[in-house]
């Protein structure tokens, strides 16, 4: 199963991945039109900055997802085949249990829509939008690495 990894030395913090993520999840898929949509799509990942370097943070699609366990509405589930944590927006009530338990802080609450923002590995596409969007190739899409460094 493929996962997203990040080369911190190449990340410039330009946030093109955030924009591509938001636009890719919008209805119109066009930057200019996406901003005018009624429910403006927000990025599912965030580039954080600490100690002089940039670190993109996105859902790790853990094999034993804490968020799935914590979801009190049963809206989150783990798809073993695809290796993705899936979110059913129709069951979600915006209780933010998932935000509370994610060990990576990879889920952000969207208070306006009461739906959590989290990466879904662009499940209906061949490759996540952020991979193509990164101008320096800092976003790496490859088979899962099982190592502990």
């Amino acid at each position: 199963m493929k996962q997203l990894y990040y080369d911190v030395d190449k990340c410039l913090g330009c946030k093109s991945c955030e924009i591509a993520c938001a636009v890719g999840h919008s209805a119109t898929k066009d930057l200019f039109k996406a901003l005018k949509e009624e429910r403006v799509s927000l990025p599912r990942k965030k580039v954080m900055h600490t100690r002089g370097k940039n670190y993109p943070v996105s859902c790790r699609h853990c094999k034993d997802p804490k968020c799935v366990d914590a979801c009190m509405a049963g809206a989150l589930s783990y798809d073993k085949e695809k290796g993705i944590v899936l979110h059913d927006e129709t069951r979600c009530v915006g209780c933010w249990m998932c935000v509370m338990v994610c060990p990576y802080g990879a889920i952000r609450p969207n208070i306006k829509t009461r739906i959590p923002l989290r990466c879904d590995k662009c499940k209906d596409k061949d490759e996540p939008d952020c991979v193509k969007a990164c101008p320096t190739g800092a976003v790496i899409w490859q088979e899962e690495v099982e190592i502990k460094l």
Binding site: I19, A20, A22, L31, F32, L35, L42, K132, A133
Partner: protein
């Protein structure tokens, strides 16, 4: 070939793109792909690099920072970015105008013998406009006129002389808004000043200052360029020419002029006809010298001499890729840095001529008006000598070339639309009043690989003329439509609505009039002023049933032109991507909305040519209604 159909509707371009692909040569289209995705912050105008506390970004989704380090918000940042582009565009046009005025002064002082006053009538009219007594010898007038013209650039107060050409009502609007341009250089400097860190934070005020700078171009720098070029190079007259890559000839020495300032290309035209050089070419094995142009300089020499146009902006690399160009001589503006690499794939010699536009490692033959003709001859000679280096195996000149008619100026419109006996705008006005003509449209501007090359221009223009709108064109837009056969009188029968057809047939003009280069957009301003002066169509430029469009724009100059048209009261639509202002809702809404209450016109952004045509047609119809004109005839 299908992938190329998406890139351009022009067959010659498609062919050359295939050749480039086969020969592994990268063009602007390839480089655009590699640039994807282009930065969203930049596209939205939300990136500010003005000062060293940055670079700053505003989060368009509202989650992250909403102000830069200095506190500037999205409105200020987007407005400042836009203002800098207006200043840059105005500087390009105005600097061109300065060079031309300077040439006139050299002529007046006897420092150059390669130019002379060719259009004496216009020369006298211009001198009178500046209040110069024309009961003097030509040289005296020329000295005074060139001095006054150059002064327009350095003026600090008052107003630019050409502002008086505009209808009184329009001049008053400018005065009331404090946007009457005072001095050509001053407005660019002041605009740049206000975009510095910590100066103007009010986006509406920034736009105001921007409009003033744009006006100093439209009614200043560009107008100086147009009028003085007419004086020393001759005013254009309707002329037949040819356009597209097919104008390059296999058995001739092909010299391509590219850039903007005709004081250079005019000399190239002359030199290409020099018997000594023609002989030299024959001795080198060619049938002669074939001069062709790209971009605005092409339009200039087309308008005055019927010189063929090899192509518009996006075809500059492709001309070299035909393998048949011996020399491409360039001066300033719209010249892709990529040309150097592409020329080095062939025998083509790229020669720069202007100290403002150098390429590292490229031959530079500095062009000075003082030795204009000599320099031009030298460059052409280099071309002739290069003829034998042409690799005949790699030559592939597309067969496409199209006829066109160009050479329309405001005076010509007088003359031809006035009929043979009365030089007046009355017939044009009457055509609009009676409804035979719905109105006028100015379709201008560049090419952009973000859209299908030439498609927007031609589709838009065809739809407009179908609806009896007479289209005035300049620049690469005119070249695009010319390539598709819209600039010949026969096009009226095929594409124009009945009313427009009748006029074209009666007068013998195409339904689309080529007015020249991008600085010649000033001709449209002057023509519009004459239309108002003639009467019956309102009192201000914003009353005329007219609209402007820049469907495939690329350059900052296009932004400036857009602003001077809007500031002059002409509703202007831009295609492709909108200005980089969408990141600021306030600014975008202002430009496409409230601005109309301020200057009587606004911008519109539209990404579909048919929709754009109908936006313009609707606008024209509304203006007709406001003037209480009869409904359109057909």
């Amino acid at each position: 070939m299908d992938e190329f159909k998406e890139k351009s509707i022009d067959l010659a371009t498609q062919e050359m793109l295939k050749k480039a692909q086969d020969e592994n040569i990268k063009t602007a289209w390839d480089r655009l792909e590699l640039q994807q995705p282009q930065c969203g912050f930049g596209q939205l105008g939300l990136c500010c690099t003005v000062c060293n506390m940055g670079p700053c970004r505003i989060d368009p989704f509202g989650e992250g920072p909403q102000s830069g380090v200095c506190g500037a918000n999205a409105d200020t940042i987007a407005a400042r970015n836009l203002a800098r582009k207006i200043a840059a565009g105005a500087s390009a046009h105005s600097d061109h105008g300065r060079d031309v005025a300077h040439t006139l002064s050299l002529l007046a002082d006897g420092h150059t013998h390669d130019y002379e006053i060719l259009d004496v009538e216009k020369f006298r009219d211009l001198a009178s406009e500046f209040g110069i007594n024309i009961d003097k010898p030509k040289e005296q007038i020329a000295k005074e006129l060139s001095k006054r013209l150059l002064e327009e650039f350095g003026k600090q107060d008052g107003e630019l002389v050409f502002c008086k050409r505009a209808p009184k009502k329009r001049q008053n609007i400018w005065k009331s808004l404090n946007i009457t341009p005072r001095g050509i250089d001053r407005e660019a400097v002041e605009l740049l000043h206000t975009t510095n860190m910590g100066v103007d934070n009010d986006y509406k005020n920034i736009i105001n200052t921007g409009m003033r700078c744009a006006l100093s171009d439209g009614w200043g720098g560009s107008m100086v360029a147009t009028d003085v070029q007419d004086i020393i190079l001759g005013s254009p007259k309707p002329v037949r020419g040819k356009v597209n890559l097919g104008v390059l000839k296999e058995d001739y020495v092909n010299i391509v002029v590219h850039g903007h300032e005709p004081i250079l290309s005019e000399m190239a035209v002359k030199a290409s006809m020099d018997p000594e050089l023609v002989n030299l070419a024959r001795r080198a094995g060619a049938q002669g010298i074939n001069l062709a142009g790209i971009c605005c300089t092409a339009n200039e020499v087309l308008m005055r001499h019927g010189i063929p146009i090899a192509g518009n902006f996006l075809q500059q690399e492709l001309a070299i890729i035909t393998g048949a160009v011996e020399v491409m001589m360039v001066d300033v503006q719209c010249i892709m840095p990529a040309l150097h690499e592409i020329a080095s794939c062939f025998h083509t010699k790229l020669i720069t001529t202007n100290p403002k536009a150098r390429f590292p490692g490229v031959i530079h033959v500095e062009f000075e008006p003082k030795h204009a003709y000599e320099v031009a001859k030298q460059i052409i000679k280099t071309g002739i000598e290069n003829f034998s280096n042409r690799n005949k195996e790699r030559v592939n000149i597309p067969k496409q070339e199209m006829d066109l008619v160009a050479g329309f100026t405001k005076e010509i419109v007088f003359q031809i639309l006035g009929g043979r006996y009365r030089a007046t705008y009355k017939p044009l006005n009457e055509a609009i009043i009676s409804g035979r003509l719905r109105g006028l449209a100015g379709v201008v501007g560049c090419n952009n690989p973000k859209q299908t090359h030439d498609y927007f221009h031609t589709t838009l223009v065809k739809e407009l003329i179908k609806n009896d709108v007479l289209v005035l064109q300049t620049g690469c837009s005119a070249i695009a439509c010319a390539k598709q056969g819209l600039l010949i009188p026969e096009a009226a029968r095929e594409y124009a609505g009945k009313g427009l057809q009748e006029i074209c047939e009666a007068v013998g003009i195409p339904p689309v009039l080529h007015l020249g280069s991008c600085v010649d957009n000033s001709r449209i301003l002057t023509a519009a002023s004459y239309i108002i002066a003639e009467g019956g169509l309102g009192e201000d430029l914003s009353d005329i049933p007219a609209a402007g469009a820049a469907p495939e724009w690329m350059s900052e100059k296009a932004i400036t032109i857009g602003f001077y048209f809007v500031a002059s009261g002409v509703y202007t639509v831009f295609g492709a991507s909108p200005f980089a202002t969408l990141g600021s809702k306030n600014l975008s809404d202002y430009l496409t909305g409230q601005l109309e209450e301020v200057v009587g016109a606004k911008f519109e952004f539209c990404d579909d040519p048919l929709k754009m045509a109908h936006l313009m047609i609707n606008h024209i119809d509304n203006k007709r209604k406001a003037l209480k004109l009869k409904p359109v005839m057909y």
